[in-house]
Amino acid sequence: MKVAVIGIGSTNFGEHWDQNLRQLAIEAGTKAILDGNIRGRDLDAIYLGNMSAGRFIGQEHVGAMISGELGLSIPAIRCEGACASGGLALRQGLFSILSGQHDIVLVGGAEKMTDLMTDGVTSSLMGAADQEWESYYGVTFPSLYAMIARRHMHEFGTTREQMAKVAVKNHHNGILNPVAQFKKEITIEEVINSPMVADPLTLFDCSPITDGAAAVILCKAELAKKYVEDPIYIVGSGQASDTLALHDRKSLTTMNATVKAAQEAYKQTGLTSKDIDLAEVHDCFTIAEIVATEDLGFCKKGEGGKLLDKKETEIGGRIPVNTSGGLKAVGHPVGATGIKQAVEMVLQLRGKAGKRQVKDAKLGLTHNVGGSGATAVVHIFSR
């Protein structure tokens, strides 16, 4: 497959008390439209990734809301797959072009989370887990990933320090990213000593609660150069599902959905993990990045922690992971994350990532997960 990304746009990510969901989405959307040198009327459809405007702000029907704000009456739809909503929207946008149905589409991701208090956000996010058999018992997302972490430590000897290194690395990258929520160095000690959220995960092991939006303009490959000189292409897309509840998984330390989605994308492109120059992976919690690097094939199962010890996932390393700062430092406005990852990838492949630029980046992979691993979407981008 080959679909062009001709425009990208993003709001700053953080606590936006002054902005509602509409404003965030429109800001990212119009930036992408301008960046793509198109006009609003060139758009054929809108795909919006948004996990839970219904619970966060009492608003459903957000696809139509955005098209209305843009003054367009084109098809608009919200895609939902918990934290993978953005990646799913990207895939749906992709398919609409590959099917020949549309030529140019706006794919956005947006989430407004800070209108609720922390306990309300924690509860709403648990909509991504099994309501009847996990959320019912007072389980939270940090505790689900903490249980994965404890199992990973038990099976492979992964250490607390290795998990902390994910946060340190991503914070370091975040300083170099203008849109990041956190632009502050942190140390391993600070991570380990920050308040415990769900043993063994501390506050700094967890991605924050964030407002934000990101958008890309997808365009039929043959038309791309009509609008921009340097289109970047999506050449592979994979998606897979796994059981909703963590306790139903075959393994607590492998996300099978990630493995399968990645295999599908690699197969489509004829590439392997060794061909990938950089990756944006779903680090909702530090342990998630470790597991993801294993499941995406960047290292053997169980060795994700060692990648950090050997500094292989830093910007200058063998396989830079989360050059944007990841979910950890950029923030995780749930539905926006998948598109934020795409925006970062396009910037990198354009050579426009400034101080966080990976040298000679040609092939990049984005990885977006829903819940504790029930949905995974992988895209491969190419110059």
């Binding site: 099994d130 007072g138 043993d199 607590l252």
Partner: protein
């Protein structure tokens, strides 16, 4: 109305939650808890019937929730765990009557009947099974 949680939503699962009743597929022999309505292994060839499970098992992973979701604030911190029942299926619940040394992978536990959630001053009380170390 005076209460927030859904009554039918809770009531529907009382039997399987209170008595640890799952489903067993007579075609492939797999046992499921929480109960499945379609055998995910056999799909249309599957035949499911109710099965009451033994209330004993062991912890296979755990954490302690310190930042609680709405409605559970008063109880935090509390441990949650994935428990493998002796009959096979794995489920998620809280651990009660615990000491530091009980929170261990492999620790044997048994189910006990406890309050899970109380819907404010006016709503119904949700009960269910939590697990205590034996």
């Amino acid at each position: 109305m005076g209460h927030e949680s859904s009554v039918p939503l809770f009531w529907r699962l009382i039997k399987s939650r209170y008595q640890l009743i799952g489903t067993k597929c007579t075609t492939c022999g797999n046992v499921f808890y929480p109960p499945k309505y379609l055998c995910p292994v056999c799909r249309k060839e599957g035949k499911l019937e109710d099965i009451k499970l033994k209330k004993t098992g062991k912890i296979i992973t755990f954490s302690i929730v310190r930042s609680a979701p709405s409605g559970f604030e008063k109880e935090a911190p509390y441990p949650v765990a994935i428990i493998e029942l002796d009959d096979g299926p794995k489920l998620t619940s809280q651990i009660v009557d615990w000491k530091e040394e009980d929170l261990k992978i492999g620790r044997k536990v048994e189910a006990c009947f406890r309050r899970i959630y109380t819907d404010g001053k006016e709503g119904i009380i949700n009960y269910g099974l939590k697990f205590r170390p034996v």
